[in-house]
Symmetry: C2
């Protein structure tokens, strides 16, 4: 687990999009993210107090989280001096970058000298078991998408927050780099070796109280030729009781797959349910979560109403209208 609280490193981000990981951690882990660190020329701001390394140390920061993409695929000298300073002040560093911290000799030696950890959350650190398919106690909800990048993580996080607000027992279970940085732990599923994918999700979502819900972060899409195997492992390893269909209403072509159209929501519903019931015959499709960000409020309402009619399922955009109905729709 990554130790909290966090200092979010925004580096020399050229714009706010480059710092979207930091924004995600700030939005979804507000208790953990208590400061930001911006270098000269940084064009991003996630609205936290700017702290120097010394101030961060005094504030009890345990980990500096790299919340920004690096440029040109290298960890620059300018970054290095800040990261080394953080290590010298006793902070761990956590990163989801493709370039691994552990491959940087100067960071490795600084971390060793100061007794700090380098967390490369792209790399699994656990030897996961082979999946065993045994029924686990507790309830599980998984988001499955018509395509990749349609809002599955956001949907699960919004449902978890709503359930926490209601005093329900729930846990967001991260399966991707941003989710892991938000929660401090999880399974970087896209980097797990094929034979252990389903087992890694069983490991991530173990037995729990009968009235506890795991909100498992979805990945990929059953209909996406590049990543469908990863999604399949989530459906079978996750053993969901409820599936939430996730969809981007503006997507006309599968992301990264020219010539492929996204499936209809009813096709996704039927296929995902058939697959999920192989491991959990009681699984139900409970609701639809739609990303309507390209629409006006009126257009969004019309779109949601139309999908609700087509599918017969409660349909909401949790970003625009809240996740309440998604939680209401979970099976008893």
């Amino acid at each position: 687990m990554i130790r909290k609280p966090y200092l979010l490193f925004l580096g020399d981000a050229p714009d706010s999009l480059a710092a979207k990981v930091a924004q995600g951690v700030r939005d979804w882990s507000p208790d953990a993210a208590i400061g930001q660190y911006r270098m000269e020329g940084c064009q991003a701001d996630v609205g936290l107090p700017d702290l120097t390394i010394e101030e961060a140390r005094a504030a009890g920061i345990r980990t500096m989280v790299i919340g920004v993409a690096n440029r040109g695929g290298v960890i620059s000298k300018a970054w290095k001096s800040v990261l080394t300073d953080a290590l010298a002040n006793g902070m761990d560093i956590a990163s989801g970058l493709h370039n691994l911290l552990r491959d940087e000799a100067d960071l490795v030696s600084a971390a060793a000298a100061h007794g700090c950890d380098l967390h490369d959350v792209r790399v699994p650190t656990v030897q996961y078991p082979i999946g065993n398919g045994q029924k686990r106690r507790g309830r599980r909800c998984l988001g499955v998408g018509t395509d990749v990048s349609v809002g599955k993580m956001y949907t699960a996080l919004a449902m978890d927050r709503e359930m926490q607000d209601r005093g329900m027992k729930s846990t967001f279970r991260a399966t991707g780099q941003t989710g892991i940085l938000i929660t401090g732990g999880g399974v970087p599923l896209d980097a797990v070796v094929a034979d252990f994918m389903a087992g890694s999700i069983e490991y991530l979502s173990p037995d729990n109280d009968d009235d506890h819900w795991d909100l498992i972060e979805g990945q990929g899409s059953l209909f996406h030729a590049s990543y469908s195997g990863v999604t399949m492992a989530l459906v079978h390893g996750g053993q969901p009781d409820a599936l939430v269909l996730c969809h981007d209403a503006s997507r006309k072509q599968m992301r990264g797959l020219p010539g492929y159209e996204p499936p209809s929501l009813t096709e996704l519903r039927d296929l995902a349910l058939k697959l999920a019931r192989i491991v959990n015959p009681n699984c139900q499709v409970s609701a639809v979560s739609v990303n309507t960000k390209a629409m006006s409020d009126a257009e969004a309402r019309a779109c949601l109403a139309q999908i609700e009619t087509e599918t017969g399922l409660p349909t909401v955009d949790p970003f625009r209208f809240g996740a309440g109905r998604l939680v209401d729709a979970l099976p008893d």
Copy 2:
């Protein structure tokens, strides 16, 4: 690629089952396997000439293939002296053992000293691409199983041999350790990192002549909770034109999954076809391959006839009755 011809190392195999990898290589790669090496006490015999290391060298052997399981998960001293001798005589070594050759310092230094290669076929050696889903030229056939270990590799090898005998253009594409040792190359799919599974199969089965068939070795089962993600990647990365349903008529429970029953062949047919058509709308289920080894000839014929009636598909046990009808059934 692993250099041929091979000397099959049977070591101190306690029985013929322990040497089943050697038997597979001998059966399916008869031109490559020209000798065997047995240590004192070896109880296996795959019917090849016993060669000393010196005789093997004189016969032009390029690679010693470990065709036997090791005992207790260690590469013993007795093995080491034979393997080192082979390296000293200019042979490479290829192994599918869980213990990697590359983790044995004495073998590594001997290989380096003599300019030989150590092939651990459990470990990918290629940085596979992300799958792109683009339609490739040539035809592809994939075996999909009601369960794991039902004869998918055997079916693909038998079809390839039948097609070669007929003068058709075909290639067996190995996706597991034994298949890789048989052919000298392939993708160890169970060891590929999740994000690259589908891409590794696209890499394995590239564009080819319009009348060429790749017989892609299946893995896992869409209905097996532990490995279904691997199978899904084969279906979407393999882009099959034809699916052959593979089944073990004696299997009452999914292997390694207490409480799970295998699906019916019609359930498998419908699910696999739906998934395959996401990437290849022209895909067809062409035939059923049944492992009837637990039956008498009369029982087997009755079983095959019954399945043929139920599914409406040509149904054969290629081990017992040949793969001819499986090849006949391929779509034009």
